[in-house]
Amino acid sequence: MSHSSFRIALRFAGRLLTAFFFSLPAIWIIAAALHPPGTPLPRTLWVAPDHASLENFARLGEYFAWARLGFNSLWISLVGVGLTIVSASLVGFCVSLLSRRSQQGWVILWLALLMIPEIALWPTRFVLFKNLGWIDSPLALLAPAWIGASPFFILIYYRAFRRTPREIFDSARIDGAGILQSWLLVALPVTAPTGMGIGLLSFLFFWGDFTSPMLYLTSERFATLPLALQTLQQLARSDWSLMMAGVTIVMFIPMALFIALTPYFNRRSWGQ
């Protein structure tokens, strides 16, 4: 008995230590961002500033219009998430209704698509978007939503639908529901936790996208937040607290969203 409670305590300590290790980047970034400008950075392990200040965030305005970039990032990400949920779940749902053999074919296709590095598509996608007139347009940033943003998202949805008992869909079909109806009224609601997970992951996908805006945008009109980091890296390279304030701005919304959703995922047992 005492042996097993000792083991549980040991395991808990290991878990705490692991969690602490993975929290370090966020702690370090935010601590540096709150450091008052003009004073030397601490050279001790205790990273929290004595007099925390938000001045760095005010100074960011001198380098880029973060409100406008943030607005662009936000609406492009939200539209991207909406489209991705629709396309990934629809494709996953339709494939889950096919015969076993065709299902395997689709799974192989998705896994193969996962094996194509994005870099392999950059040069010719650039030429393609140019011919389509999508350069310097949000369409170039939103294009991946057409194909579920990532085959990974479709696979997760497909897996969720396959885990759902078939009878639920069959009874909807007997009641005369078409594909779109059973998708909207049955499939999406019963996989709501998966939808939340995909929503979060695809938000991270679009919000964090750095290369698409860098390659396909030519003006500042639709520039998104990650591009601001490039500006900071070039103009304020050794002003660490300013740069970490920029990093904080870029990571704030996805991280806050993730933390806010954690209780939801906790209730529904992770990874299922």
């Binding site: 395991r11 969690a19 929290s23 540096a32 990273v47 096919l98 992951l201 290369t211 993730f258």
Partner: protein
């Protein structure tokens, strides 16, 4: 009457079939336009001289000679091996160990799991910019920590020898996706098996090697492949922010080379010829994948978990 009911059901089923085909058709059209067409195009573009502005001109194998005789090519392949291919299995193993540690319920388990994913919620570009500060030789927290331990830490991104380890260490924080996948794969191992092994006197290490590893092996292999491919992209951004390929080309990877050829030199043909090396790698991975799928029958059996 039954005849009409059958007919109605048949029409209904047919219309269902056709809407499934329509939806999947739209998806396949997107995949063709956004993936297959660009891939095939750059596959062929390797034989042309093309700057993205004037029409492409056939130039035979010149691009291949230009691309593969470039000293930077072999250097960048070696760097990619060290920075992208080799760390992938280690990252996946780390994700599995973290998932194993966080597998069973316990106090605060949800929040502790969420902490492991936390760095992965930071956009890659932000994490890369933060890396410049985290591994800063003078003020960076990593070096302050190492100094407290009595070590004399290196200057990381500034030193040719230490720039690669710094990039790899930075990437070890962002293993959230693999962590979640491993967690889901582990949930499928019934806890009774664990208990039975423990009753029989198996230690933690023995259970991990004899039960956990074999069950999640196909998932791990897929994850490692996936990790390599994703790392081509993520390491590009990390390098773009931290070392820009330096110092002395120590972190110059194939991705950097292709980016320079295509978007700095506007030599899409040479870039495409270099891309052939990447396509070869993708092809090998797809073959490996196919073997895994055949061996474990992924997608047709009733196995509870696929990636």
């Amino acid at each position: 009457m039954p005849f009409f009911r059958n007919l109605r059901q048949k029409i209904k089923r047919n219309s269902q079939q056709s809407s499934i085909s329509l939806i999947l058709g739209v998806y396949l059209l997107g995949v063709s336009l956004l993936v297959f067409l660009p891939a095939a195009w750059s596959f062929g573009l390797a034989f042309f001289q093309f700057d993205g502005l004037t029409p492409p001109r056939w130039n035979g194998g010149v691009n291949f000679i230009l691309a593969y005789s470039d000293q930077l090519f072999s250097l960048s392949v070696r760097n990619s091996l060290a920075l992208i291919i080799l760390p992938a299995p280690v990252r996946v193993l780390g994700a599995l160990l973290a998932a194993r540690l966080m597998q069973r319920r316990g106090r605060w388990i949800g929040w502790l799991r969420s902490a492991v994913f936390l760095p992965s919620a930071i956009p890659v570009a932000a994490m890369a910019a933060a890396g410049l500060w985290i591994f800063n030789p003078l003020y960076g927290p990593v070096n302050l920590l190492l100094q407290q331990l009595g070590l004399s830490p290196p200057a990381w991104f500034v030193e040719p020898l230490w720039a690669k380890p710094a990039l790899i260490l930075l990437s070890f924080w962002s293993i959230g996706e693999g962590f979640l996948v491993c967690l889901a794969a582990l949930q499928d191992i019934p806890s009774e098996i664990d208990e039975a092994a423990r009753v029989d006197g198996a230690g933690l290490g023995r259970i991990f090697v004899s039960i956990t590893l074999p069950v999640v092996a196909p998932t791990l292999a897929l994850l490692a492949f996936r990790d390599m491919i994703l790392s081509f992209h993520n390491s590009f951004i990390a390098i773009f922010f931290t070392t820009a390929g330096g110092p002395y080309y120590a972190t110059f990877t194939v991705t950097q080379l292709i980016y320079e050829q295509a978007f700095d030199l506007l030599s899409f043909g040479t870039a495409s010829a270099t891309l052939w090396a990447l396509y070869t790698l993708s092809g090998l991975l797809v073959i490996g994948l196919y073997v895994i799928i055949r061996t474990w029958n992924i997608g047709i059996t009733d196995e509870p978990f696929i990636l």
